[in-house]
């Protein structure tokens, strides 16, 4: 057997010699990347579910006040919306987050019984609720968490509501939600005459007018007809609402701290490794290795640490997402899948973290003089 020494093999052997230290460093970066995948995956999944919800119901616009979730849109504005020629349907809705039991949180929607948004739901059992009655429909996931079926009573804010139906929704946000008559939501929230938003479906674009130009034109018309309100295209609303932005900020903030700790871990490992190998670096320099090659060797070791830690971290993050997707408190807002883009980002961040952490030790190693390094004990 002829053993062929490659640059990568050499780098790997250097890492392998201190197995425990390498494993602990990998653990650190894996936790950091795991946190990144879990948290950012959670926020992306949340955003994705919003988009799916709008897409499945065929909503083109959400008409809201400047601040999302500020339930101060007048319900009477619906008439003005419906008067716009291009608007096919405009339905009022209220959105809130409820603590249904100590263990189960759920999104709660207030809809009209004749809302077009029911078209995207599949009724699995029971019937649709009626306006003006204390009735509620439950998403499949929520019904399972609450162990409820049609005919059961669900207490919401001290009032009994009859479960009329169980539905399958177009997104996890609907699957884990409760839908009540909008008038009941107004009573529960002391919001008489107010709604969170109007969801608007447009008529098809006229022949010859491109869809994006059509959307932009109608957006202007809605905003002109309803001063002080904003017509937000569905895709934009999915990624740019306060809940999603808050989730993204929390995810990035927390994972940045975790990544910083991971980077410091690799930097510490590489700094110790360079110090311990000073004489070996001197030998390499004596044998004609250029400074940049020494730098590359140390950076390769750091990048391998980052990359392997990243792969392990993706596994950790995926497991965390699976747990979150199974927990009653979070099942309605997260799915266990990791988008390919997030995988690529995680690996790139892990490798970049390694390179960044290895930069200073690599530079210090590369600038060693061969004679001084050879003298090092």
């Amino acid at each position: 057997m002829t053993v062929q020494l490659s640059f990568a093999r050499f780098a790997w052997k250097n890492l392998w010699r201190r197995r425990l230290r390498t494993a602990l460093t990998l653990g650190g970066i894996a936790m950091a990347i795991g946190a990144f995948v879990g948290l950012v995956g959670f926020s992306r999944s949340f955003e994705h579910e919003w988009l799916r919800m709008y897409q499945s119901s065929g909503t083109d616009f959400a008409v809201v006040q400047q601040t999302f979730l500020n339930t101060s849109v007048d319900e009477s504005d619906g008439a003005k919306l419906r008067a716009i020629r291009e608007v096919a349907q405009a339905t009022p809705m209220i959105l809130n987050l409820m603590d249904l039991t100590p263990e189960v949180n759920a999104l709660a929607y207030g809809w009209k019984a004749d809302s077009y948004e029911f078209d995207s739901l599949k009724l699995l059992a029971g019937r649709r609720f009626e306006d003006g009655k204390p009735e509620v429909m439950l998403g499949e996931l929520l019904a399972e968490s609450l162990h409820k079926k049609p005919g059961d009573i669900l207490e919401i804010q001290g009032s009994p509501f009859t479960v009329t139906g169980i539905y399958h929704g177009g997104s996890a946000l609907e699957e884990g939600a409760a839908i009540l008559p909008i008038d009941q939501m107004q009573v529960l929230g002391s919001l008489q005459g107010k709604v969170t938003a109007f969801h608007v479906r447009l008529k098809p674009a006229p022949m010859g007018e491109p869809q994006d130009r059509y959307i932009s034109r109608v957006q202007g018309e809605i905003q002109a007809a309803l001063p002080g309100l904003r017509a937000v295209p569905a895709a934009e609303r999915a990624s740019n609402n306060q809940l999603v932005l808050l989730a993204q900020a929390a995810a990035w903030g927390t994972s940045s701290i975790a990544l910083l700790i991971g980077i410091l871990g690799i930097a510490n490992t590489m700094a110790m490794s360079v110090f311990e190998r000073t004489r070996e670096i001197g030998i390499l320099r004596a044998l004609g290795w250029r400074r940049w090659r020494i730098l590359m060797l140390i950076e390769t070791e750091a990048a391998v640490l980052g990359l392997v830690g990243g792969v392990v971290g993706i596994g950790v993050g995926w497991a965390a997402l699976r747990v979150l997707a199974a927990l009653p408190k979070t099942a309605s807002i997260v799915s266990a899948s990791i988008p390919a883009l997030l995988l690529a980002e995680s690996l790139a961040i892990a490798m970049l973290a390694g390179l960044l952490a290895g930069a200073v030790p690599a530079w210090r190693g590369a600038k060693l003089s061969p004679v001084e390094a050879l003298r090092h004990d």
Binding site: R17, I283, R285, G288, R290, R291, P370, L374
Partner: protein
Amino acid sequence: MTSPVLEVRGVRKSYDNGRIEALRGVDLAIAEGEFLAISGPSGSGKSTLLQLLGGLDTPSGGDVLFRGEPLCPRALDHYRASKVGFIFQAFHLLPTLRAIENVQVPMLAAGRDGMNRAHKARALLRDMGLEERMQQYPNQLSAGERQRVAIARALANDPEILLADEPTGNLDSVNSARIMEMLTAIQDKRGMTLVIVTHENEIAEAAPRHIRIRDGRIHEEERRG
């Protein structure tokens, strides 16, 4: 004398802001294919001279010339990788690599392709009588075997000059004799220039040319044959 392959002109080397003078103006020309021994007491500057000849360090004053051209500080890596091979007293093998991998390390610097590197390393170790030991790690080899691996490594890029700093300093007499036999045989067979720094008179006197250094200057020179 044929044109020198290596030459030092008025070379000085000082450390610690000039407080320590290791070399105080050395002039020396080494012919191609020559076997030169440098001896002297500890601290005389003999190892410093070898380091300057090998491009491991740069002089504080004077010039080191390779084939008549001063060594350019920017090109020292290339010079070390392609023109000289080093053998050290402490062997300086890399502990994480097998013997055959250690021999390939200089070839990585020279950019030889992978299979070529492995075949060359195997052939060199076979020449050193280490065919059965090439998969061993340095800590699994005897001192004599380690030095033979180091010689194979020094020859990896077919250098023109072999520089050995106390190559037998850590060896018993049997292994010392064997290593010296190997070095002279290599020098003879390849027509290489061999410069050995030693404090052992027996080794120094075996060289056709022998210089003694004292207090940073060439104190005495002997030629034989």
